[in-house]
């Protein structure tokens, strides 16, 4: 089964939120999901301890660079989708996890700083693909976006697309329900109402469907 790695050397880009939304939506849609917490801050682990873990989700915590490859290999053979949440730094752990990915998702806020640092992840994927002599599919998802896009946002999206970078649509918008996942644990269906919950679920499902399409080979970069 495929391994989805959520990577960006930039802290605060929305990696853990993206991982939780993706993992819980996949599980809600019927898949067994292993979520691997490779962030020393343990955001995924904190989420998993906040509330009842949704059905079909298993969380593996505290993986280090010497263990990550074996751990992914062990979990992607037993009919599960593996979602790996990485630390927001440039590290060997990040590069090794990327080497095992069927899809790398790079969350990015629509700011020049996020885009500049996020590009380092794109460069790393390119270099690793060359070293491994195989393609490493990857895509950018914009996080914490607003309904009305700024000029800067449009410019960054346009620039990435011009360079042939796969940009996932829909973007993950700034929603109270997404940040509340880390307050209540569980998923968007189990938490007390937060803001426009239906819109949040629609956004999360749309994102998960777009990722699933890439994993199933229905949509490429």
């Amino acid at each position: 089964m495929p391994t989805v790695v959520i990577a960006s050397p930039k802290g605060g880009a929305g990696k853990s939120t993206t991982a939780v939304i993706l993992g819980t939506e996949f599980a809600h849609a019927g898949a067994n999901v292993t979520m691997m917490d490779c962030d020393p801050n343990g955001s995924l682990t904190l989420w998993s301890e906040r509330g009842t873990l949704p059905e079909r989700i298993e969380v593996v915590s505290g993986l280090r660079e010497g263990e990550i490859i074996r751990a992914i290999k062990a979990h992607d053979q037993d009919g599960r989708i593996v979602v790996v949440d990485l630390e927001g730094v440039a590290s060997r752990l990040v590069s090794r996890a990327i080497s095992q990915a069927d899809l790398v998702i790079i969350p990015m806020r629509a700011t020049t700083l996020d885009a500049t640092i996020g590009v380092r992840a794109l460069q790393l994927i390119e270099e690793e693909a060359e070293a491994l002599e195989r393609d490493i599919p990857h895509a950018v998802v914009f996080t914490m976006t607003r309904a009305i896009q700024s000029k800067q946002h449009k410019g960054i999206v346009g620039s990435l697309k011009e360079q042939g970078v796969d940009v996932i649509e829909p973007e993950l918008m700034e929603r109270a329900a997404f940040s509340a996942l880390f307050e209540f644990g569980g998923d968007l269906y189990s938490m007390p109402g937060q803001g426009n919950a239906d819109k949040a679920i629609e956004n999360a499902q749309g994102f998960a469907k777009a990722v699933f399409a890439r994993l199933a080979g229905e949509q490429g970069a």
């Binding site: 752990l93 790393l124 491994l132 469907k209």
Partner: protein
């Protein structure tokens, strides 16, 4: 709200590279881009000795000097000489 159901059978996993030489190649290219190890390396320095027992022996000065000289000559601790002497004693006396 859309109805999203996953057909797990539609998913494909790609070949994963786990051979040590492939991983080394990945480590090399990632280091060039600044993605280096951030984990503490193995503890440096001398490993602690497993010899944690002690004997408290008063001996004649010449015996102490001879044990010290022999240990220095062989490059071992004086305790090793005492261990060997004890092993010989056990062998001889059948302890």
């Amino acid at each position: 709200m859309t109805d999203f159901k996953i057909n797990v059978g539609a998913l494909r996993s790609r070949r994963k590279d786990v051979e040590p030489e492939r991983i080394k190649a990945v480590d090399r290219v990632s280091e060039d881009l600044g993605f280096t190890s951030r984990e503490a390396s193995a503890k440096r320095g001398r490993k602690p000795s497993p010899r944690t027992g002690q004997v408290h022996a008063k001996v004649f000065p010449n015996v102490a000097a001879e044990i010290a000289d022999e240990a220095r000559r062989r490059g071992v601790q004086q305790g090793v000489i005492i261990e060997e002497a004890w092993a010989l004693y056990k062998e001889k006396s059948g302890v």
